[in-house]
């Protein structure tokens, strides 16, 4: 039975936390835990989610959980898994929730090690495109033109000057059994992918776009809409890597306006016509490549 608003459990395993209203990351964790259930063992490195979720004695994560060293999310996951296996524990899922920096920057080495070992655990990157917990600084998944507090947008430099690292493909290049991209704007797709990851015999990775109202400069009630819009305008994509093959889950005949998507967020307020042209060119090149090389 497909997971959707009707079929998903009403049980909440992440609530009462202190995240900002409209937090995409908190929504991603809440949804994922509905699929994984109360025998999930959660690993969340120092980031917004561990900050709002574990301030003793206030413990709003209602499953077993650990805050690992920032760089060590995947390695702690592997250790839990090995310890659980050695003691013969059954019916549990080890899952990590790291942000874009905790995945693609400081967490990359340990993640690579875990995929290399093919440990049976689920690594979920919630991507809000900057280091939000420290007050919005650039990561390697920050998009071109985003204003952050260490890539300021002025007259001379219009925010971050680099484009997003192709993290999903870096993970796939390890030969991982299952990897996927998702967005909180497409929750049913995300839920289905978490379920697939849960049933994967080996390491799985889900990269979920998770808008951050505070860092993106959007209202708190449009998180899901913005997450959907990111996919519809082609600046994000829904795809899977499985059995050695890439597959585009969604291949829009026509993109909605990327310019409108960017203009709706104050983080891109410094972009000019040349910047929009660059963003569109990169988008179109990426899609030409994906459409050429990936299954649809």
């Amino acid at each position: 039975m497909a997971l959707n608003a009707k079929t998903i459990t009403n049980q909440e395993l992440f609530y009462g936390h202190k995240a900002c209203p409209g937090c995409g990351a908190a929504l991603a964790i809440r949804l994922a835990l509905k699929v994984l259930g109360e025998r999930a063992i959660v690993v969340i490195p120092p980031n917004c989610m561990s900050t709002v979720g574990y301030i003793y004695p206030h413990m709003p994560v209602f499953v077993n959980s650990v805050i690992p060293p920032f760089a060590g999310t995947a390695a702690v996951m592997s250790g839990i898994l090995a310890g659980a296996e050695a003691q013969g524990l059954k019916n549990y899922h080890v899952v990590g929730f790291a942000g874009d920096g905790g995945t693609a920057d400081i967490g990359l080495q340990a993640l690579s090690g875990m995929i290399d070992r093919n440990d049976r655990a689920i690594f979920i990157c919630y991507d809000n495109e900057a280091y939000m917990n420290t007050g919005v600084q650039k990561s390697s998944l920050t998009p071109y033109g985003m204003k952050t507090t260490n890539t300021p947008a002025g007259k001379r430099i219009h925010g971050s000057q680099t484009s997003k690292k192709r993290m999903f493909e870096i993970v796939a290049a390890h030969g991982i059994p299952y990897a996927a991209t998702a967005s909180v704007g497409y929750p049913e797709d995300f839920l289905a992918k978490v379920e697939k990851a849960m049933n994967t015999d080996g390491t799985s990775y889900i990269h979920v776009m998770a808008p951050c109202p505070t860092g993106w400069g959007t209202e708190s009630d449009v998180t899901v809409d913005i997450g959907k819009e990111a996919v519809d305008c082609g600046l994000w994509y829904l795809a899977e890597y499985e059995g050695g093959e890439f597959r585009l889950n969604r291949d829009p005949k026509e993109f909605s306006s990327a310019e409108a998507y960017l203009k709706a967020q104050s983080r891109f307020s410094a972009l000019d016509e040349n910047d929009f042209a660059r963003v569109l060119q990169e988008r179109d090149e990426a899609w030409a490549r994906m459409r050429r090389d990936w299954k649809k």
């Binding site: 109360e38 003793y56 592997s78 310890g83």
Partner: protein, 394 residues
């Protein structure tokens, strides 16, 4: 397996770890620790050790994997050295702060730069503040025995702290000695696995390595400090019980050797204690009253016992393989603090030796004793033993 074996210090550690049966081993190779991880992977391959062996991509991940394993109640082991120890430092604090009873072997090796793969103790002694119990072995037999004692200490419900077992790189890790193996049944009886009270539990979920703000943080630290102090009694008990099971003991936190009526006592730790023992014997035969105080445990520091052991001496020398640049050797600082705390007034002098693998000979130690016995002690300056003055402008 019991009986005697002719093995290196590293192999002695691996053999002890096999008998301790950790659920999880995660380690990354580094000279001169490598033989430990090689032997342990051999044991997993040949089926004589049923551990989950994790091939990690760094020491940081080795420690992180041990954190995860220990968090869910698994007995964990890792081994490292020098740069590797420093790379896992952040995890060391997680382990002690979250009270994970991980056991780690550290092959004492110098730190870059300048690079050196050879022995000194600047790696572990720079980590006295990370909350781990720190034990130092003198020879391969003590290394083997101390690994077994380390699990007894770490997993004691009154302690629940990680333990670092230090072996001098090459001098001990790569030197072959005859060791007496323990019978497996006795090892099982000495260190039975018991559930950790703080472990994650699928039936009763918990969070660990949590955040504690200003209203709670100090209380966690106070309890951690108390547990580390309490560990001293557990270390003594572990050594006593070890003697009952296996017929060997090491004095608990420290060992005094011919100190009773000694005019001059040398305080040191690790493998050089063996060399010092020979010099003490020779001097005693010549009628000179000298003794050795071997510190086996740097944390918790045996302050009262150290002060008591040095009380009757006329001069004390502290020989150590590290220096806190701009001050003195850290062992010297600790010894002096203990003397002050227990109102023992005795002149002390600091001897820094063996840095980056420089040998410390019997003649070097004899020179120290001669200085201590002469009564012309220069306590104000840290002496560098066997320094090549001609090439460094000294």
């Amino acid at each position: 397996m019991s009986g005697k074996l002719f093995v290196s210090g590293d192999e002695a550690v691996a053999l002890a770890v096999r008998q301790a049966k950790p659920h999880v081993i995660a380690a990354y190779p580094i000279t001169p620790q490598t033989i430990v991880v090689e032997r342990l992977s051999d044991f997993v391959e040949d089926g004589s050790l049923e551990s989950q062996y994790l091939y990690v991509e760094s020491e940081h991940s080795a420690m992180c994997a041990c954190l995860g394993a220990s968090a869910i109640g698994a007995r964990a082991f890792t081994a490292t050295s020098s740069q590797g120890l420093l790379y896992m430092v952040e995890g060391l604090h997680y382990a002690s702060g979250s009270r994970f009873p991980i056991v780690m072997m550290n092959a004492n090796r110098s730190l870059a730069a300048p690079w050196s793969i050879y022995n000194d103790q600047r790696d572990s002694l720079s980590e006295l503040e990370c909350g781990w119990i720190q034990l130092y072995a003198e020879n391969a037999q003590e290394a083997y025995d101390t690994i077994l004692q380390a699990y007894r200490i770490a997993e004691d419900p009154a302690v629940m702290l990680p333990v670092m077992v230090n072996l001098d790189g090459f001098v001990l890790t790569h030197t072959y000695e005859l060791i007496q193996m323990a019978e497996q049944e006795k090892v099982d009886a000495y260190i039975p696995y018991r559930n950790f009270c703080n472990k994650l539990d699928l039936e009763k979920p918990k969070a660990t390595c949590i955040t504690a703000g200003p209203p709670y943080n100090m209380e966690f630290r106070y309890q951690q400090h108390q547990a580390t102090l309490r560990a001293a009694e557990t270390i003594r008990a572990a050594d006593r019980e070890f003697n009952e099971h296996f017929g060997r003991s090491y004095g608990g936190l420290l060992e005094t050797y011919r100190c009773e009526d000694a005019d001059a006592v040398l305080v040191t730790l690790g493998s050089v204690a063996g060399t010092a023992r020979c010099v003490v014997d020779a001097y005693r035969e010549a009628g000179k009253k000298v003794g050795l105080l071997k510190i086996r445990c740097m944390r918790p520091f045996p302050a009262e016992e150290t002060a008591a052991a040095l009380k009757g001496a006329k001069a004390v020398g502290v020989l150590e393989k590290d220096v806190s640049f701009g001050f003195e050797g850290v062992v010297h600082t600790n010894v002096n603090s203990a003397l002050k705390e227990w109102n023992v007034t005795v002149p002390t002098a600091n001897y820094v030796g063996g840095l980056g693998g420089r040998s410390i000979s019997k003649a070097d130690i004899a020179g120290i004793f001669d200085g201590l016995l002469s009564g012309s002690l220069n306590a104000s300056e840290t002496a560098f033993v066997n320094l090549r003055r001609d090439i460094c402008g000294a």
